[in-house]
């Protein structure tokens, strides 16, 4: 177990700057998810941690030691690759035990650890098969088993679930998190899937263009996104954003987008006149005939327990989630109410959150 720290880390491939001046501290035993769209530099950061990419600026520190020039094999890390990267000519048993064999552990110890890992991962009956004879989910588990037996200081996961089907992915999310809780090792997990990030992370680091946009607990990012970008990235269905203006009149502070008027907390009075985007999470609204948000229902999607209403509100698509019992057909006018405290207000020009 170890802490991981990035001190003003930068990475360039030729003239292309992938990471810029990035600083981040990861506590001992934390499960940190690096989240971002493809090309944001998250995988590069992970690979620099593993020692598979050189560091062009700043320092990568593992457990208090600068590891910039340290070979991957000396860093005491375990990594699960997106495409698993199993050794195709070796049996599952030898795949999992390879690192122990390299470390010249005794045969008995290797066998014990491999079997223990196989038991935890439900791979016992497949130990004598080759990777080609396994399903995608089983291969993924072999890749995890290979990392598990290491007792490494830091576990690195590079989008390990992106090749699995939805059901298996949900199952493996739980398994990976349970594994982390059992081993207690510091884990850095890269994904572009915000659901994975929300469900697994102690801390999410949201990246864009080689920079950290926001870091914090899943709740922090969901409840207090620091920018329009974060608000749009986190949460499913996606947050609704309405463009308008803050108005203060007769002692009341309101958000106005053409005919739509929403009450805002008094604290926004200082920002009166500002052009803003108002964010409303689909799950934060309640069906209310007297509600301020009124629109024409375009389509209603049943998702099981809930129904998602897609409305046309002031010419903008607006999604609202309500219990299944509220289901109705397209074409109707519907109204929803929202608690002013749950509104997210972003500066129209900069996209930054207007905090009050």
């Amino acid at each position: 177990m170890a802490t991981v720290e990035y001190r003003k880390v930068g990475k360039s491939f030729g003239s292309v700057e992938v990471l810029k001046d990035l600083s981040l501290e990861i506590e001992d035993g934390a499960f940190v998810v690096l989240l971002g769209a493809s090309g944001c530099g998250k995988t590069t950061l992970l690979r620099m941690t593993a020692g598979l990419e050189t560091v062009t600026a700043g320092e990568v520190v593992i457990d208090g030691r600068v590891v910039n020039d340290m070979h991957p094999r000396d860093r005491d890390i375990a990594m699960v690759f997106q495409n698993y990267a199993l050794y195709p000519t070796m049996k599952v048993r030898d795949n999992i035990g390879f690192s122990l064999e390299v470390a010249k552990k005794s045969k008995a110890e290797i066998a014990r650890k491999v079997e223990e890992a196989a038991r935890v991962l439900n791979l016992t009956e497949y130990l004598d098969r080759k990777p080609a004879e396994l399903s995608g989910g089983q291969r993924q588990r072999v890749a995890m088993g290979r990392a598990m037996v290491r007792d490494a200081k830091v576990f690195l996961f590079d989008e390990p679930l992106s090749n699995l089907d939805a059901k298996l992915r949900a199952h493996m999310r739980v398994e990976i998190r349970q594994l982390h809780d059992r081993l207690g090792a510091t884990t850095i997990y890269v994904t572009h899937d915000q659901i994975e990030a929300m469900t697994m992370a102690d801390k999410i680091v949201l990246m864009k263009g080689g920079k950290i946009i926001q870091e914090g607990s899943p709740d922090d990012l969901y409840d207090r996104p620091n920018s329009r970008f974060v608000a749009e990235f986190i949460g499913s269905p996606q947050i609704n954003l309405l463009d308008g203006r803050i108005e203060a009149e007769e002692g009341a502070v309101r958000f106005r987008a053409r005919h739509l008027v929403l009450d805002l907390p008094q604290a926004y009075a200082a920002h009166a006149g500002k052009a803003v985007a108002c964010g409303i999470r689909p799950n934060d609204v309640t069906l209310d005939p007297d509600g301020a948000i009124t629109g024409t229902l375009q389509i209603a999607e049943k998702t099981g327990a809930d129904v998602q209403f897609h409305l046309d509100v002031e010419g903008t698509e607006f999604v609202a989630v309500a219990p299944r019992s509220a289901y109705r057909h397209g074409g109707e006018r519907m109204s929803f109410a929202i608690d002013p405290e749950k509104l997210h207000v972003f500066d129209e020009a900069s996209g930054e959150r207007i905090s009050v």
Binding site: P72, N83, Y84, A132
Partner: protein
Amino acid sequence: MVVRSRSSRLLRTFAGWAVVALFAFPLYYWLTVAFKDGNEIFNWPPKVFSFTPTLKNFEEVFGISLGFGFGEQREVLPGGGNWRMGPRLWDSIVIAVLSTFLAVTIATLASYALSRMNFRGRHHFVSWVLSTRMMPPVAVAIPVFFIYKDLKLLDTYTGVILIHALMNLPLAVLLMKSFFDDIPREIDESAMVDGASRWLIFRRIVLPMVKGGIAATAVLCFIFSWTEFLFVLTLTQTGLKTVPVVSSTFVTSTGTAWGNMAALGAAAMIPAFIFILLVQKHLVRGLTLGSVKQ
């Protein structure tokens, strides 16, 4: 599954056999010449199936008696051709096997480095290596002759093995590099993170995955060396000769000994055939199957 009519299936089968026959016939005819007596070779119309087989040509070529009338143990044919080709066959085998081994070993190591390691000029290296094959070998033969003379490599196994390996290297490197390039880098990286050294990764992980590529490269190198004519002709005198060069000695001032030439050619096919057969079972595709999700 495409359903085909009976007649179209028959037509396909027939066409298949016709093509096979077209390619196999010259080989078959060559073999019949090896088993024909001198006069029968020149019969017109040629006797394709109905001839009296004899091992006389083989007796003559290898200087042995199998009871087909070869008695005198002559060293030289009346027109200057050689008898006793057994040792020449051995020369061919030694040179082809060792030069193949040398070329494949160097090419495998070199192409792994070219495929995986970062060093200055890496990208130009391959084209530079290839460029050495772009000039006609005959342009190299005379300079090599003088170099060999100084190095006392003329007329030696070492000399011929070296030049054959050198001639094979560029293509072997190029071929092997493409096999290494096909292996996802993540496999190396994964092993690196697992604590393995570069050499261990090469030996334990990557090498078993390119077995098929090594086999294919070895076949090509072997065939080149087995049939190479020019360098053996210029770089050897009496110490050793390979089959292609001694075959030409059957073309003498008093005529061409077709039967002997065919017998030697037929005999020469056997070691090459055995080598390819041994290697062929490694020529399997899909060795990377199951390693990574594609």
